[in-house]
C-alpha cells in the first residue's frame, strides 16, 4: 500500500483512539452535569489520579489489569466522598465551580507531593504490546484496545440508562428531580451513585491513556482541557454531542499535529468558537 495513504489511515485511527478517551472523560462530566447541574472541575484531577494509582498498583503487583479495576474504583469512591462531604453542603453554581476547582488544586498538589513531577512510564501488558495488521497498515494493538474499551463502556452506559429501572430513575431525575423525590425515591442516593459513575469513567480514561502518554502532573491540563472543550462544544449534558465532538476533536488533533504541528491546539478552540458563534449552547445543547 502507498505509504502516504497508510499514514493517513494510521493517523485517523490514532485520532479516533484519542477521541474515545476524550469521550470517556467528557461523558463522565456530562452525566454529572446533566443530572445535577454541577460541572465537576475536579474531574480531570480524578482522571490524572487514576493514572497514578494504576502506576502504583502496577509497581506493586505488576498487573495492569488489576490497575484497570482498582484505580477507577478508587476514584469513584473518592468522587462519592467528595459529593457527600463537600458538594452537598454548598449552594449555587458559582460555589460549586469554585469548590471543585479547589479540590482539583489539592489533588494535583498531593500528586506532586507523593510522586514528584517527572513523567513515569507505565508498562502495558504483553498481550496489548506490538502491532497488528489491518488492511495493510500495521497498527499498535493498545490503541485498538482503547477504542474497544470505550465502545464497551458506551454500550454499557446505554444499557444502564435505557434498559434498567435505575436508568429510568436517573433519566426521570434529570427532567424533574423534585417530582422523583416526591415519589419516594431517595434522590440523594441516586445523585451519589451518578457522581460515582462519572468519576469512575474519568478514572477509566486515566488508566487507558497512561501507557500512551506516560504519567505526569501535566496530564490533567493537557487532556483535561480538551475534554472540557468537548463538553462545551457538544453541549452540556448531551452524550451524543460529546460523542460526535470527541471524534471530531480526536481527528482534528491527530491530523493537526501532522500538518500544522505548532497550531494543533488552536484548531480545537477555533472549532469551538465557530460552533458557539452559531449555537451558543453547543451543538446538541438545549437552551437553559
Amino acid at each position: 500500500m502507498d505509504p502516504t495513504v497508510s499514514m493517513y489511515i494510521s493517523q485517523g485511527i490514532h485520532g479516533i483512539a484519542y477521541g474515545m478517551i476524550l469521550f470517556l472523560i467528557a461523558s463522565g462530566l456530562n452525566i454529572i452535569f446533566g443530572m445535577m447541574g454541577i460541572l465537576n472541575m475536579a474531574h480531570t484531577a480524578f482522571f490524572m489520579l487514576a493514572a497514578y494509582i494504576c502506576y502504583a498498583v502496577v509497581g506493586i503487583t505488576g498487573n495492569f489489569w488489576l490497575g484497570l479495576v482498582i484505580a477507577p474504583a478508587f476514584t469513584a469512591l473518592l468522587g462519592v466522598v467528595m459529593e457527600r462531604l463537600f458538594l452537598r453542603r454548598v449552594a449555587g453554581h458559582m460555589s460549586e465551580l469554585i469548590l471543585t476547582m479547589g479540590i482539583s488544586f489539592v489533588i494535583v498538589a498531593a500528586i506532586k507531593k507523593i510522586w514528584g513531577t517527572e513523567s513515569l512510564p507505565l508498562q502495558m501488558p504483553e498481550v496489548l504490546q506490538g502491532m497488528v495488521n489491518i488492511v495493510g497498515v500495521s497498527y499498535p494493538v493498545y490503541r485498538l484496545f482503547v477504542i474497544g474499551l470505550a465502545l464497551v463502556i458506551l454500550v454499557f452506559m446505554m444499557l444502564l440508562l435505557y434498559r434498567t429501572r435505575l436508568g429510568k430513575i436517573v433519566r426521570a431525575a434529570v427532567s424533574d428531580r423534585d417530582m422523583v423525590n416526591a415519589l419516594g425515591i431517595n434522590i440523594n442516593l441516586v445523585f451519589m451513585f451518578v457522581f460515582g459513575v462519572g468519576t469512575w469513567m474519568a478514572g477509566l480514561a486515566g488508566v487507558a491513556i497512561a501507557p500512551i502518554l506516560t504519567v505526569f502532573p501535566g496530564l490533567a491540563d493537557q487532556v483535561g482541557m480538551d475534554a472540557f472543550i468537548v463538553v462545551v462544544t457538544g453541549g452540556f449534558g448531551s452524550l451524543s454531542g460529546a460523542f460526535i465532538v470527541s471524534i471530531i476533536f480526536g481527528l482534528l488533533s491527530s491530523y493537526g499535529v501532522q500538518f500544522v504541528s505548532q497550531f494543533a491546539p488552536v484548531l480545537m478552540v477555533a472549532f469551538m468558537a465557530l460552533v458557539l458563534a452559531f449555537r451558543p449552547n453547543g451543538l446538541f445543547g438545549v437552551k437553559e
Binding site: 452535569f33 460541572l39 463537600f86 453542603r89 454548598v90 449552594a91 449555587g92 453554581h93 458559582m94 460555589s95 465551580l97 469554585i98 469548590l99 476547582m101 479547589g102 479540590i103 482539583s104 488544586f105 489539592v106 494535583v108 498538589a109 498531593a110 506532586k112 507531593k113 491540563d221 482541557m225 472540557f228 472543550i229 463538553v231 462545551v232 452540556f236 505548532q262 497550531f263 491546539p265 488552536v266 478552540v269 469551538m272 468558537a273 458557539l276 458563534a277 451558543p280 449552547n281 453547543g282 437553559e288
Partner: protein, 328 residues
Amino acid sequence: MMKNKVNIVIWVIGLVFLAVFPKVFGIYYTNIMVTLAIFSVFALSVNMLLGYTGLLSFGQAMFFGFGGYGTALALTHIEGIGVLPAIGIGVLASVVLALILSPLVVRVSGTAFAMLHLAFGQLMYVLALKLYNVTGGEDGIANFPVPGLFTESLKSSPEHFYYLAMVILGISAWLMWFITKTPFGQIQVGIRDNDKRIDYLGYKVPQSKAVIYVLSALFAGVAGSIYGMFHNLVSADGSLGIGMSFSPIISVMIGGAGSFFGPILGVAIFQLVDELILRYTESTELVMGVILIVVVMFMPKGFVGLFGILRDKISRRGAPKAEKEKVS
C-alpha cells in the same frame, strides 16, 4: 454633612499615608504595596464581572497577560516610547481582545461562560509558549527599558515607580467604583439578579454585558501592564498562567463578591496568607485549593459577609439603645 466631613478626613489621611509610605517604610514594604495595588485593581476588574454582573470567568489572566505583553513589546521594539503610551498600548491590546471575544461570550452565561474563558485562556497561554519569536516562549520578555515621566529610567528608582503605579492604579480603582455607582452599574446588578426582568424593562442585556466585559478587560490590562513593568518581566507562566486567573477569584471570594472594597481586603488577606504559608511549604496550589474550599464551605460571602453578620448581631443587641439616642 458630618459624615461627609469624616469621609474627607479619612481620605486625606489615607492619601498622605500613601504619599509618605516609601519614605517611612523603606523599599521592601514599598514593593509589597505596589504588588497589593496591582492585584487589587486586578481583583476589582474580576469583581466587576463576578460580583456585579454575575459572570464567572476562568480566564481573566489573558487580559492581564495581554496588557503585560503589549506594554513589554512596545517598550522593547519602539524607540524612545514614553511610559504612558506604552501602558496605553498594553491596555489597548487587552481591550481589542475583549472586543473580539465579546460577541461570542455575551451570548452565554454561568458555567458555559466560565468554561469558554478557561479554554480561551489556555489557548492564549499555549500561544504565548509557541510563538517564541514574538513572546520569547518560556523565558518571556525580560529586561526591557522602563522610561520614567521625568527620569531616564524607572528601574533604578522604585520610589518613582511607586508613585506612578499608585496614581494609575488609584485612578483605575476610582473609575471602577464610579462605574458601579452609575445607573449603568445598577443595571449590571439587575442582570446578575434577574436578567429576564432587565430584558423586559427594555435594557439590552447582551450589549450591557459586552460593555462591562470590555471595561473589565481594560482594567485587567492596566494591572497586567503595571505588573509587567514592575517585575521587568512578562512570561507565560507569570502573567498568563491559570493560577493568574484564579488568584483574583480567590481574593474576591475571600473578601466578598459584590461588595466594592471586599476584593481589596481579600487581596491583602490572600497575599498575607500566601506569604506566611509559603515559608513552610513550596506548593502554592495546595494553599490556593485549601483556601478556596474553606471559603466556599464556611463563609460563602467572604469577610465582608462575615462583618455584616457580626454587625447585624451587635446592632440587634443594641437596637433599643440606638433608638433612644435618636430621640434625644
